[in-house]
Amino acid sequence: MSKDILVFVEMRDDKIKKVTYELIAAARHLAEKTDGAIHIALLGDAIDSHADTLKEYATGSCYAVQNPALARYSTQGYASGLEAVISKSGAGVVLFGATSMGKDLSARVAAKTDAALFTDCTEMDIDGEVLTVKRPVYSGKVYAECVTVGDGLHMVSVRPNIYPPAGPVDGGSAEVVAVDLPVDAAAIKAMVKEIVSVSGARKDVTEAEIIVAGGRALKNADNFKLLEELADVLGGSVGASRAAVDAGFAPHSIQVGQTGKVVNPKLYFAIGISGAIQHLVGMRTSKVIVAVNKDANAPIFQKSDYGIVGDLFEILPLMTQEFKKLLA
């Protein structure tokens, strides 16, 4: 098995997503063990400046697949391009972010190349031929320790916000190697026609460092402004429980939980959220959890680090005030 690690660069709206730098940190951890090089796979259309940025992070090469057909993500286009880079780089391990793009692409490319693939991993290690990972299963109730079997490519999609983002490599930059896209644009059968943006100014909950989430106790959509005020002071995003979304107080795009999104912020506020298992599934790996609930017996308090029993309509504005003072 090759000792080299390849990182798939995730981009959206022409910006390199933060998870890419987390993958590079993860790659360095593996490369230390294998004594291999770190390569980068960059796919897109207007990618020259990004290639210049990213070559500072690789110890091997930055492979650039530039093609108008790749301006927007398509499974077929990106799978074709990435397969070509994997082949050219000779890497043995490929890393993706466990994002919509990463999960969609890794499943396809792993099947194409008969690779061992682990999705949404929180830990990984390598010893010779064998890659070991830990990943949450059964809706995050337990962790599974998994290993690769036999010869071949290994692929991992890594949960965002686990590895701290890496900085550039000390001393010297890698070369940028151009790779042609094998597939023809006309052959791509699923194309993104447009993107309907929802989250506005705040980060998507899956990418947020701080989340202020509300439950049905907020009583209506208007009251979510109280959460927004606190989120804005902290530079965070707003989330919602399923009950709040089902009641029409918030859009599904900010729902946290089993039928919503899985988040991993450093700080999670559960405001008026009882703590049902389906919600916990979506946020229980948060570094610090703060719960505010008027019911002292709410299960959320068993899974939190700090708890306040009280009326959220009274507590929330006071919290916003205090954080404003602290951060002034």
Partner: protein
């Protein structure tokens, strides 16, 4: 149109997951098994498409698994699916996503479906790998995490709204394709009592390894490049610090603790 739906049987969400003594497996005692919740959206969508088309289109449901899968297939029949196929063989046991996809693709390929629907992930392994692998092995496009599907039967295309970070991607895809379903796509119907009675009498087709034409070393544990070796319980969180005092005092103490103790702001 020929509509196919892939189903999985999983432990109910409310189930407490207990590990076996040596932590190499999950204790099945007392576990309630149900149709994977995300697969319900897939069944419902297939039924709605069939019923809208009213042109003799059919919905066939498949499930690879032990005898537990039969209950899940009957539920789908009770909801209104036309046919059900149970794919089962000791050789399939221990198969990971790709090994499982190999079997599913082998069974489905000759049937030439126009659209294959399934849940975005199984709530047991939460891997989201099998659908993409099936699509790749069938050589057809995939669109994952669909919250809306508009079919143009005449043109043989779908416009799918796909939920991603920060919004929805609107994807146009040529059939045949695999589409995975997300919450919000539709409201799955409950099986009616007449539906349940009819489903009891329906024949469920059985498919084994021999029917797939695959070699034993391409399926199950033998055909897998990944393996679960052990399970670990979640690390315990230290006990929650309940704050006390007047609301204003608690708010101030929280801000202090998050900055100075937890160091997260």
């Amino acid at each position: 149109m020929k509509l196919g739906v892939l189903l999985k049987t999983v432990p109910d969400t409310e189930t407490k997951i207990k590990l076996t003594g040596d932590q190499t497996g999950i204790d099945p005692q007392g576990v309630k098994y149900v149709m994977n919740p995300f697969d319900e959206y897939a069944v419902e969508e297939a039924l709605q498409i069939r019923d809208r088309l009213k042109d003799g289109s059919t919905v066939t449901v498949f499930s690879l698994g032990s005898d537990r899968s039969v209950e899940t297939l009957r539920t789908a029949l009770a909801m209104g699916a036309d046919d059900a196929v149970h794919i089962s063989d000791p050789a399939f046991e221990g198969g990971d996503a790709l090994a499982t996809a190999r079997v599913l693709a082998a069974v489905i390929r000759p049937l030439e479906f126009d659209l294959i629907l399934c849940g975005k992930q199984g709530i047991d392994y939460d891997a989201s790998q099998t659908p993409g692998a099936v699509a790749e092995l069938l050589g057809i496009p995939q669109v994952c995490v669909a919250v809306d599907i508009e079919l143009d039967a005449g043109a043989g295309t779908l416009v799918v709204k796909r939920r991603v970070e920060g919004g929805d991607e609107v994807v146009e895809v040529t059939l045949p394709a695999v589409v995975t379903c997300e919450k919000g796509l539709n409201d799955p119907r409950y099986a009616s009592l007449p539906g349940i009675m009819k489903a009891k009498k329906k024949e469920i087709k059985q498919v084994t390894l021999a029917d797939t034409g695959l070699e034993a070393d391409a399926v199950g544990a033998a055909g897998s490049r990944t393996k679960i070796v052990r399970y670990h319980p979640l690390p315990d969180r230290p006990e929650c610090k309940m704050l006390a005092g007047e609301p204003a005092e608690m708010a101030a103490e929280l801000a202090r603790a998050l900055r100075e103790d937890a160091k997260v702001i």
